[in-house]
C-alpha cells in the first residue's frame, strides 16, 4: 500500500474520541473502536482511545476490553464536565505532539460540537455523519462515506493533503466487538499543562427528564412518516408497537409537525436500529431515513406509491393508503393477540 508522501509521512495511528457519557447505553465509541481496529490493521498501526475527565478508570478498562490498543488519558477535576474550549485546546495539543493519522468521533451532540472546532484549529478536513469508512488500497487514505446533497447521494470523501483525517460517524452504523476480559493494553498519561481558561463557566448541569426510548435495542420497530397524514393517525403506531412489544420510530417529516418526539427520529441525523422486524408506514424511503434502518432483519413497508424507494429495500410491501391499512392491521392483530 502506498502511504502518503512528504510532510504527512510522520502521522501514524488511528484515534477514537472516548465519549463515555451514558456509557452503557451510548455505544458509539465502542463501535468506533471496532471499526478503528479494522482500519488500523489495514494501515499497519494501532487504535488509541482518548479519554478526558475525572475518575475515568472504568471506561479506560472497558475500551481495552472492546479492542483498544492504547488509552490516552487526561484526568483532572476541571475536565469532569465537558467544556468545549478546554477540550479543543487539549486535544489540539495532543494531536500536534502524537500526530495520529486518523481521528474519529461519534456524531453525537458532543462530537458534532467538538470536532468542527478541533478540525479548524488543526487546519484539516472533517467529514460529518459518516455512514461508512474504509482505507483506499492505492493511497492509504481514509475514505469517508457521508450523505451529501440533502441525503440524496452518498459521497466518498478523502482528505489528501491534511492530517489527521477526521470524521464523525453516525451511531449504530458499525458493530462493537464483544467484551474480552483477557484483553490488555497500554495506558498513557500525558503531562497536563495549565488548562486553558474557559470563557464560558459551567455552573451546573442536570439530566433531561424524558421517558427512556430504547429504539436501538428494540426487536420490533414501527416507523411512521408523512403518509400517515395526522398526529392522530401517527398515534395509532403506539398501539401497534404495544401489541407487538416494540418501539415507535419516526422520520423527519413526522417529527417536524410534532407527531413524535425528536428522540424517535431514525436515520442520518437520528438513531440507527437493528430490529428483527421493522414496519415502515407512510414513509417514502428517502436515504436520510433508510440510513438508520439498514440493520433491520425484515422490513415490511406500507405506502400508497408503488414506486416509493422504500419498496426497494422492503422484504414485504403493501401498496395502499396507510390511513386505511393501519386501522385494519390493528384490528386484525387485536383479534389474534
Amino acid at each position: 500500500m502506498k502511504k502518503m508522501s512528504g510532510e504527512n509521512r510522520d502521522f501514524d495511528g488511528v484515534w477514537v474520541l472516548g465519549d463515555y457519557r451514558n456509557y452503557f447505553q451510548n455505544r458509539v465509541t465502542l463501535q468506533l473502536i471496532s471499526k478503528g481496529k479494522a482500519l488500523a490493521q489495514k494501515l499497519n498501526t494501532k487504535v488509541s482511545v482518548i479519554v478526558l475527565g475525572e475518575q475515568v478508570h472504568q471506561y479506560a478498562m472497558e475500551y481495552v476490553a472492546h479492542g483498544a490498543d492504547v488509552i490516552i488519558v487526561a484526568e483532572h477535576p476541571e475536565l469532569r464536565e465537558y467544556q468545549v474550549e478546554t477540550y479543543t485546546a487539549l486535544l489540539a495539543r495532543w494531536v500536534e505532539d502524537f500526530k495520529p493519522e486518523v481521528f474519529l468521533a461519534g456524531a453525537t451532540s458532543f462530537g458534532r460540537e467538538l470536532f468542527p472546532r478541533l478540525a479548524k484549529r488543526l487546519q484539516t478536513g472533517l467529514s460529518a455523519d459518516c455512514v461508512a469508512l474504509d482505507v483506499d488500497s492505492e493511497t492509504g487514505l481514509l475514505v469517508q462515506t457521508t450523505p451529501a446533497f440533502g441525503g440524496e447521494l452518498l459521497a466518498d470523501v478523502v482528505t489528501p493533503n491534511r492530517q489527521p483525517q477526521m470524521a464523525t460517524v453516525h451511531p449504530g452504523v458499525f458493530h462493537e466487538r464483544p467484551h474480552d476480559p483477557e484483553a490488555v493494553g497500554r495506558i498513557i498519561y500525558p503531562e497536563l499543562d495549565v488548562l486553558p481558561e474557559e470563557r464560558v463557566r459551567l455552573l451546573r448541569s442536570r439530566r433531561q427528564q424524558t421517558r427512556s426510548i430504547n429504539l436501538e435495542d428494540a426487536q420490533v420497530v414501527v416507523v411512521g412518516g408523512r403518509g400517515l397524514g395526522s398526529k392522530e393517525q401517527f398515534g395509532l403506531l403506539f398501539e401497534l408497537a404495544e401489541l407487538l412489544e416494540g418501539e415507535v420510530g419516526a422520520t423527519r417529516p413526522a417529527i417536524l409537525p410534532e407527531w413524535a418526539e425528536e428522540d424517535r427520529l431514525l436515520g442520518q441525523t437520528g438513531k440507527s436500529v437493528k430490529p428483527k422486524l421493522l414496519i415502515s408506514i407512510g414513509t417514502s424511503g428517502a436515504l436520510q431515513y433508510t440510513t438508520g434502518i439498514q440493520g433491520a432483519e425484515t422490513i415490511i413497508a406500507i405506502n400508497r406509491d408503488p414506486n416509493a424507494p422504500i419498496f426497494k429495500m422492503a422484504d414485504l410491501g403493501l401498496v395502499g393508503d396507510a390511513t386505511i391499512l393501519l386501522p385494519m392491521l390493528l384490528e386484525a392483530l387485536r383479534k389474534r393477540l
Binding site: 494501532k46 481495552v64 495520529p100
Partner: protein
C-alpha cells in the same frame, strides 16, 4: 515535546498507583532474601482478589512483615490482618494501619486501591499515600515493559517512577 507516563492495563483488574492504572507493579527485588520489595501481581479473569507479596520495613529499617501471595510469613512485629469491606488491612502491634488493600467492583472489572506507608531496609520511604492512590518512590516496573507508542512522540515514557 510532550512528556507522559505509561503503564499496561488489563480489561479485568488494575491497581491504582501513582495516579495511574496498572495491571501489576513491582518495587524492589523479590529474589533478594533480605531487601525490601513489594509486588502487586496481575489478577487473571475469573479472580477478583488482588495478590500482594512484600517484604516491608519501618522508618528505622526494621523488618515489619513478609507477605507471599497474601499469606503472612515472617512477622517479627506481630502484625495482624483485619478484614474490611472490599479488602484487608494489616496493622502493627499498636493497631496502626501499615497496609490497606481495597477492591472496587465495576460492571465488568475490578480496581484495587492501596494505602500504605512502607520503608526499605535502609529506612527510605518506598510507598506512601497521595490522595486516592499510593505513591511509590524509587524504581518501579509496571507489569509489562513496552516500546514507545506509535505516533512520533517517544523517548520520555516514565516506566520507572523516580521522585
Amino acid at each position: 515535546m510532550l512528556k507522559f507516563r505509561e503503564s499496561h492495563i488489563s480489561a479485568h483488574h488494575n491497581y491504582l498507583v501513582n495516579d495511574m492504572l496498572a495491571a501489576g507493579f513491582l518495587l524492589g527485588d523479590p529474589d533478594s532474601p533480605k531487601t525490601f520489595y513489594f509486588l502487586s501481581d496481575i489478577v487473571p479473569p475469573g479472580e477478583s482478589t488482588p495478590r500482594i507479596s512484600a517484604r516491608a520495613f519501618d522508618e528505622h529499617g526494621l523488618l515489619l512483615f513478609e507477605l507471599t501471595s497474601n499469606v503472612m510469613g515472617k512477622n517479627p512485629c506481630e502484625c495482624a490482618s483485619q478484614s474490611i469491606p472490599g479488602g484487608v488491612r494489616i496493622l502493627d502491634s499498636s493497631g496502626k494501619a501499615l497496609l490497606e488493600v481495597r477492591t472496587e467492583e465495576f460492571t465488568n472489572g475490578y480496581l484495587t486501591r492501596l494505602k500504605a506507608r512502607l520503608f526499605d531496609e535502609h529506612g527510605n520511604l518506598r510507598i506512601g499515600d497521595q490522595g486516592e492512590s499510593i505513591q511509590v518512590y524509587g524504581e518501579a516496573d509496571m507489569a509489562y515493559i513496552s516500546p514507545p507508542p506509535a505516533g512520533g512522540t517517544e523517548g520520555n515514557a516514565d516506566h520507572e517512577q523516580r521522585r
